[in-house]
Amino acid sequence: MFGNVARSRLLPMSLPFRYFGAAVLFHVAAWALLLPVAGEFADFQAGLGPVFAALHLLTLGVLAMAAIGATLQLLPIATRQPVRSIGAAKLLWWLLASGTLVFACGAELYLPRLMAAGAVAVTIAFAIYAFLLARNLLGARGLPVVVAHGWAAFACLIALAATGIALVAYYEHGIALDHSAFRAAHLVLAAYGFMGLLAFGLSTFLLPMLAVAPSPASRISYVTLGLGVAAITLGSLGWRLPGALLGLCAALLHIYSMERSLRARLRSPLGPAFLLIRVSWACLALSLVAAILMELGHAPARAGLLFCLLLIPGWLLTFLLGVLQRIVPFLASVHASKASGGTPLISALTPVRLLAAHRILHLGALAALLAAVFFEQEILARAGAAAGLAGALAYAAFFAFVVLKVRNHGIHPPHQPAPA
């Protein structure tokens, strides 16, 4: 279907970095879109508009974009299979980036027709990614735990694309469907399913590597996966309470096994990125506690919004930002080494103060938004959105720092795909 198989499992630098770069820009755009309407944030229920647009800039533009970029580079290492087509991976990026932009513009301007055009591009992008993912997993050798998580994420990706198309059809053509049920299923499949399972699977291989620690026990990882898949299935079919309970068990088991692995690490400093990763784990568990309380009727007012905050920026975004700040300098050092004859130290590609500023701003933004919704305080929402935007700009500066450092190191990243 697509030609141009990657020669090596190490992709050209420009490929994963275009995904990370786009994610960094969409991150800034999401907070910038939220800032002017932050005063209304605490009252947000549902429907189109700037908050909805910002949410999808975050989910499609940041989370899906970075996750696809990271898996294109990391899965071939885990599965010992090269990316099947460099051309398809590039086309995927163009479709996802442009589709996300058009979709968000349509949502912001209340233009369902424009949203539909964006959704079509995003759906085609996801279809290409599903093809690349499936081809990679079909020939996978090694790390069966990661592969099993990959297949589960693949199934969720197909289901989330189907529910997404149905929702766009509802907005554009007014087709009859249970909108709230489809919306809930779409959220569960996207956040806990596709993104969550990819995060769980790659964590079992990536986090021990970053921490210089042993991998978690496979048996526990398989049990976690089984519980997670059952929870996602139940949750997306409308059985939310049993789904959330099983999901909480899966989340706690995952956190336990990862912490056990990290405790056995051979290098004592974990690095500040793991603060973000641990906060993200706490948000994951709290999101499921919030879901359980909502189903039991014990949740506070605006619990739905608190749940979304814990789930999207709390769990997924915080986790992603923590992991990216480790793998971006790591991958950059690999590519800087290739062409220059000298290997830059990863620490030289890690601007510690900038990342510390980002951590404070990001965690401050998260805390302020949660407090704003809980206490219904406009001023806290505005402060949170401002801190979020400042944090996103600091993160963009970090990314620019790494790219400029690599360029100044005298390298010319190989942009040409390697011959098959």
């Binding site: 020669r7 090596s8 499992r9 190490l10 290492i77 010992r80 050798r141 090694g142 790390l143 590597m209 210089v212 991998s215 051979l266 290098r267 004592s268 400093p269 790591f330 050092s333 690999v334 080494s337 290739k338 004859g341 000298g342 290997t343 130290l345 990863i346 620490s347």
Partner: protein, 149 residues
């Protein structure tokens, strides 16, 4: 990751030992409490690693990787050997003459970071690739040759 090939298990064990030793050294240097005995032990281990482990990988493993289409990875790892060797030469010389020399701290920290990153890359890319590349006979020959070297 669990390895089937004996040579991979052997190299993995040596990586773990290197990470443990240099992790301790890094912690002592970062805490401002350099340990002369640890410094000498790290220098001796590093000299052994360069003489034996690096030389074996360069002579036997990197060419196999390159021939199997993993030339990028082999080239990257070989380049890192060059950089580590240069830093190690200074570190070993200083640690032998004066383990309390203050110049050892930046050198030790640099080497700790480089060795950890290098081991991470070998564990992520080289050893899994060798699992696929080597058959039982090649694995036995390599293991025997390495153990007796």
């Amino acid at each position: 990751m669990e390895y089937i090939r004996h040579i991979n298990r052997r190299l993995h064990e040596e990586h773990q030992a290197t990470l443990a030793l240099w992790g301790r050294l890094e912690a002592s240097l970062s805490a401002g409490k350099p340990d002369s005995a640890l410094m000498r032990s790290a220098a001796a281990s590093l000299a052994e690693e360069i003489d034996r482990h690096f030389a074996f990988e360069e002579a036997e493993l990197f060419p196999r990787l390159a021939a199997a289409g993993e030339g990028d990875v082999a080239g990257l790892l070989a380049e890192e050997h060059v950089v580590i060797r240069a830093a190690a030469k200074d570190f070993i010389a200083l640690a032998k003459t004066d383990p309390a020399d203050p110049r050892l701290k930046p050198l030790g920290l640099e080497l700790a970071e480089r060795l950890v990153a290098h081991v991470q890359k070998e564990e992520m890319s080289m050893l899994p690739a060798l699992e696929d590349l080597l058959d039982e006979q090649a694995d036995e020959e390599l293991t025997t040759g390495y153990v007796s070297s």
